[in-house]
Amino acid sequence: MKNPRIIGQSIPRLDAPDKATGRAIYTDDIKLPGMLYGKLLRSPLAHARIKRIDVAKARALPGVKDVIIGADTPQVKYGNWRLVPGSQDELPLAVDKVRFVGDEVAAVAALDPETAERACALIEVEYEELPAIFTVEEAIAEGAPLIHDESPGNVSLVRKIAYGDLDQMFAQAHYVREDTFKVHAVQHAYLEPCACVAQAEEGSRVTLWTSTQVPYIVQCLLASTLGLPENNVRVMKVAVGGGFGGKMELRPWEFCAAFLALRTGRPLKFTLTRSDELAFGRRRHPMSIYSKVAFSKEGKLLAKDFQVLLDGGAYNAMGPTATYLCGTFGNMLYNFPAYRYLGQHVYTNKPPASAMRGFGAPQAAFAAETQMNLAAQELGLDPIDLRLINAMQTGDEIPEVATISSCGFKESLTKVRQISGWDLKRKDKKPGRGLGIGCFSFISGGVFNWFNTKYNFSAAEVKVFEDGTAQLACMACDIGQGPDTVLRQILSAELGVSIEKIRLISMDTAATPKADLGTWGSRVTLMNGNAVIQAAGKIKDMLAPVLFSQFDLNQIHDLAFEDDKVFVRANPKRSMSLAECVYKALKGRRGEPLTARGYYTPRNKGLVSPAFSFGAQVAEVEVDADTGLTKVVKMYTAHDCGVPINKMSVEGQLEGAVQMGLGYTLMENLILDQQGRTLNTTFLDYKMPTAQDMPPGESVDVDTYEPEGPFGAKEAGEGLAIPTAPAIAHAVYEACGYRCKELPITPEKVLRALGKIK
């Protein structure tokens, strides 16, 4: 099938010039007349009972307009898993207990930020300190203090998967090994710290501008926590400076802004600082992972026993989804007959972990892929050969999940072997240098409906006008990953209208069709793309009669919508401009506008995802055996994202993913002291790699055509963030002999493993 020309082109982001020149408006840029500034008072203790709060002195400070504590609020618990109300464990402001250093206790509204901050310092809170827990092992130990009374053993959620005869497979296997792995917390470090502005109208309506990746989820949860009908809450977003999973829930400042705006009758803004984000913000789950695998003599993977303890921090946040997905990522990449997964989401007294690019997969893959490399070595097989023996292929079934409708995994392995010079470099080994491999697969959006929406998962509304322009309205959330451009490419491809003639509205829950679950799980291109195609198809049906009657066409003719024209496919001379066609259709409809809505919810695609991406990555590193420093020399990537809609966007995703993977593997780490306070709260000491740390890269797109995706597309956002850690870890082993099973790979760990320091 031949795709329209605009599919697969490298179109620079339509929003890029405004962002690069500083003209783009972000939430913190919004200033409304009479606007107040909000500040949050946070808990200094990791675990404590609140005995008393006195806000009198704060209230008395000139310039302070309002102070609220938990008792002033409706106290409705919230969380994204509306389907399981028991999992909704968060309150906007703590009522009885605080559960991590940074838990929100009170909020102040004042004329300026300085006064708000001074007022926070005047709030007196008397705490009764409780014993705090900082590791999953302590949390599940017998007699451990309870963080939430409702969750005995501090386990909030358990996910099990089991099929095949595991015991028999382990008993008869040629080779069995078991390993334990640990991974640490890192942060999204989106460039734009969270911010929001709320404005109340007509007493009980509220508009919230917020830096979010899920406007619809924020609308619903904000309404329920305020005790208002959903329709009284309007959520808008302006430009968003990144999210990576860190902005996909209702957050306390969003509630406090709306609540204070309703109480004071004045608009109100909250803006977090970078230090707030690093000290208290969401992060990737640390995990303790046990994995046992069995292989036949030939290297066929027979069974896997995969047990994961997720360190969720003080609240569930998106942890339940990560707990589910970890199990699914454990059997998505390789085909084997027996699998058992036990995932447990554990509370600790740390800032809550949540979704972060890869949603459980970077952790699961670090363990599983490192174990594949260990097994290959002991089986005497090349690590790529071992993967080729076991790789998933098109038509294979991920048991109890789905049948894979397109899979370019084996091609990816072959291609990455080629471009990295794998065979030659492994034969001619240079001291201090090594090559390592890591692989991934990822979902293209989730089928699961834990949010329990009654609407379709995505929706788009297309309007066309008699001047030949179009308007696309959808709630798809561009947080920097590019759907504002990609969705217009898809509409342009389907309707033939030039991309620059499409106005996009994507930022307003009151002006876009319901619903859209937002940006997460790499769902936007596939799910919104399909909704756009459906809406465009309906518009084409409205326009077709104009041509059929104008040219007196036989009903067997096909029409083409290309280059701002509509014409008869078999006889392109029978043609009119799109503008003329819309004009005539409007005349024929006596002025009834040409508007159509499209929707998408996956059907008959199992309960995880409609499509799966695959890929393989090779890292080439140098390790300085004296200093322990690892330098990534080059990254090689071959991946299958179906048909890329915008090649430049896919390249950008790959570069960004390598940067995040590099930080995760080698530098980034949130360091907490014994009281649960974060010690590195600036970019000086939270070591995120900069552009100057980026290694050169080489990549190949393995093109497959995904039948469920728009024009054959699949995800390219999160999967690429998965393979870097195991690839670098393997390369470090090949370079110096240190086998990392506990991230990050620091110079100190390398030197300790080499016996150079104690």
């Binding site: 930020p113 000491d685 070591k687 740390d693 320091i757």
Partner: protein, 294 residues
């Protein structure tokens, strides 16, 4: 944290600057590049109602090198300007290297060498090279002018012997003799845009027979102040610098440091790196000194 309000004064001469300092006495701070000062005011609660800027004081940004006088770095000379000054690049490679890799390009464009020293952070990148080169500071106050050897300057983290009403007018660095090599090595988690977890600077000066006439080694970020490694210096001076001796001397530097465990590195790692970097620095110094002799 909110930034308190303050007044900035921009004197044209040192005399005016000194007058402003003594007129306001308390609650006044000197402003050069501001890269440390403003962070302290914004984040660490440092209070100052008056800032006296040195940036328009005539002549204070001058950098000059003459074989007979050595190097003079004005009190407001920028790190980036010092790093790319031809005299510095040619005669003081350790200092040029420190000035061109420390912090970030933006900070190097604003921050000054004098400010880097006066701030007295144990990790100050220019301190170890300047210790190795035997630098002094020229401090002026209303009553007069004094010269302070850099090795006597630091008193502890953030502390120096500079008096509150003194201004660093210049840093003077003697001209390096013939047959001299110097180098600076630093380590940090990020390859660029980072603070040093360990820094080592060295200088070797050979006599006509190729023996070590003078050796200077200095460490950053591994003690409460930048420190010299007297033991290693003494091991080398008067000796023929064979590889085994360089290795032993480099290893002895570990005894000159008192590193701590912190979020940037453990004490054990820092100790090990002092040895590795000192050995590398000495090898490099020797190669340069020998190259210069031929």
């Amino acid at each position: 944290m909110a930034m308190p309000h303050f007044t900035v004064h921009q004197p044209k001469t040192l005399e005016q600057a000194l007058d402003l300092l003594s007129r306001h006495r308390s609650g006044v701070k000197l402003l050069a590049g501001g890269t440390d000062l403003l962070m302290k005011m914004r984040q660490a609660g440092l209070k100052a109602e008056h800032l006296v800027s040195l940036n328009r004081v005539e002549g204070l940004r001058t950098i000059s090198y003459r074989d007979e006088d050595g190097l003079v770095i004005g009190g407001a000379a920028r790190l980036a300007d010092v790093g790319r000054h031809p005299g510095v690049a040619q005669h003081y490679p350790a200092l040029a290297h420190a000035c061109s890799v420390m912090a970030t390009p933006q900070i190097r464009n604003m921050g000054t060498v004098a400010g880097n020293l006066v701030n007295a952070a144990p990790s100050a990148d220019t301190a170890a090279p300047l210790l190795a080169y035997g630098a002094s500071l020229v401090a002026v106050e209303r009553g007069g002018r004094r010269q302070i050897k850099l090795q006597d300057f630091f008193r502890g983290p953030g502390l120096s012997v500079l008096e509150p009403l003194e201004i660093v007018e210049a840093i003077r660095v003697p001209a390096p003799p013939a047959r001299c090599g110097s180098a600076y090595e630093r380590l940090s988690a990020r390859s660029q845009v980072d603070i040093a977890a360990v820094g080592v600077a060295g200088l070797l000066n050979l006599d006509l027979e190729g023996r070590v006439l003078r050796c200077r080694l200095a460490l950053g970020a591994v003690a409460p102040t930048p420190v010299r490694c007297l033991e290693a210096e003494q091991m080398l001076e008067g000796q023929a610098p064979d590889e085994a001796l360089l290795m032993r001397a480099g290893a002895s530097c570990v005894r000159s440091c008192q590193p701590i465990d912190d979020v940037r590195a453990s004490a054990a790692f820092r100790r090990a790196m002092v040895q590795v970097l000192a050995q590398r620095v000495l090898k490099r110094c020797l190669a340069l000194a020998q190259g210069g002799a031929s």
